[in-house]
């Protein structure tokens, strides 16, 4: 059993925000992070979000808004997401197990803010913005600023994450998403990389976006690597240099740890591979 004293499942956002205004309730989406941790942790008041229809994907002229309660399975299936945000659907496809993808949501993944949350590097490459709503206010915070540390975000106790707005990339952009885990199928990432290469008409890299999960204390863009790639022509040497730079950044920021002798060469090789995969266009053009 889990310890819950009060349980509410509102049917509208207004009602949910009224309940949250007390600051005492914990939102519950898919429960795949919350429920395993709720056991034996003392009583809680829970607010079930499943009646709020927050799982829609909507396309506007310049962006795509993904409802916070869209499940990973929905992100793998949704025609708009798979076409315009292929990095996000690939990341979602690599989350946990079928059972977990059927319940776990995008919003839960972001608010839980694990350093290895798989959708986060994909979202960072799309300049994603979190839409936060409370009874009296609504604000938009870039996902990069929203996650403030391992398992920490700037969400208030009276706020709900209602959606995440993503910018599709200009064409032609080549992308890849690689995740390294302990075994292939079910896996918490040891490392994940999201790569976008925006190409100019002459085969050079006009701009690049590279984000890493489970490499730094908080998933982040590697702008140093992006700058190295911009303006260059894709080559094995360039990608090897980018890999080496990423490894250097990791050691500089996270320090030398027991895992460093493993992680340093692996990150370098993984980034090199992700860049080569993106450049080959095998993963798909956006």
């Amino acid at each position: 059993m889990i310890d819950v004293t009060t349980y509410i499942r509102p049917g509208s956002l207004e009602e949910a925000l009224d309940v949250l205004a007390s600051g005492e309730f914990t939102p519950l989406a898919g429960g795949t992070d919350l429920i395993p941790h709720a056991r034996g942790r003392g009583p809680r008041k829970m607010l079930d979000l499943s009646g709020l229809s927050l799982d829609r994907v909507t396309r506007t002229a310049s962006s795509i808004e993904v409802g916070a309660c869209a499940t990973h399975s929905e992100l793998c299936r949704d025609a708009v997401v798979t076409k315009a945000l292929p990095l996000l659907s690939k990341a979602a496809a690599l989350v946990g197990t079928k059972q977990v993808r059927n319940r776990g949501t995008l919003g839960g993944n972001v608010v839980n803010a694990s350093p290895c949350a798989d959708t986060v590097p994909a979202l960072l490459n799309h300049d994603a913005v979190a839409v936060l709503v409370s009874k009296d206010a609504r604000r938009k915070v870039p996902v990069e600023a929203f996650i403030t540390g391992p398992y920490a975000t700037c969400i208030g106790p009276n706020e709900l994450l209602t959606s995440i707005v993503c910018e599709p990339l200009e064409k032609p952009t080549f992308v890849s998403f690689l995740k390294l885990g302990r075994r292939q199928a079910v896996n918490i990432s040891r490392m994940s990389l999201a790569v976008c290469l925006m190409m100019d008409g002459k085969g050079s890299i006009k701009g690049a976006r590279v984000s890493a999960g489970a490499v730094f204390p908080v998933a982040r863009r590697m702008r140093e690597v992006e700058r190295l790639l911009a303006g260059e022509s894709p080559s094995k040497r360039l990608f090897a240099e980018a890999g080496a730079l990423a490894a250097q950044l990791m050691v500089k920021e996270s320090g030398v740890r027991w895992s460093t002798p493993y992680k340093r060469p692996v990150l370098a090789a993984l980034l090199e591979r992700a860049l080569a995969e993106a450049a080959s266009g095998n993963f798909g053009e956006q």
Partner: protein, 160 residues
């Protein structure tokens, strides 16, 4: 609260707090003990049930989250005395040893075949990755899914 949902094609109403885990409702209130609890953390898949046809872990599901929805447990897969083709195939190939993971594996396999009638080995591995078996080494399980897939497709052709 009054919880109305469908369990194994039967409309069911229960008085609940909303915060019970679905696995506890099934086993303790409804006597459906075919659903097993293994890790209780969503990792082993022994508690798998189908929620509107899709596999989920009933240990991570709270009762109010299934209001108005349809749950299928292993008890609801067979039609009376006749086994579901996946159940028959598990028995025929000997894909069962201690049996603890079997209800979950059978349900995940049935959901896979409803989605993809002739899955590749890769697709099977991906679909069943959330169901741990510590006895069989999975080989016989994959063979059972392949046998069920062949039998179900043959049955479908025959009926057309």
């Amino acid at each position: 609260m009054k919880l109305k949902f469908t369990v194994n094609r039967r409309a069911t109403t229960l008085e609940v707090t909303g915060a019970e885990r679905v696995i506890d409702l099934l086993r303790e209130r409804l006597g459906l003990v075919g659903t097993k609890e293994g890790c209780g953390k969503g990792e082993c898949g022994a508690c798998t049930v189908l929620l509107d046809g899709s596999p989920v872990c009933s240990c991570l599901l709270l009762s109010s989250q299934v209001a108005g929805r349809e749950i299928t447990t292993i008890e609801g897969l067979s039609e009376g005395e006749s086994l579901h083709p996946v159940q028959a195939a598990f028995a025929e190939t000997g894909a069962v040893q201690c049996g603890f993971c079997t209800p979950g594996l059978v349900l995940s396999s049935a959901a896979l075949l409803a989605d993809i009638p002739a899955p590749s080995r890769e697709q099977m591995k991906r679909a069943l990755a959330g169901n741990l078996c510590r006895c069989t080494g999975y080989q016989k399980i994959f063979e059972a899914v392949e046998l069920a897939s062949r039998n179900m497709r043959r049955e479908k052709r025959r009926r057309r």
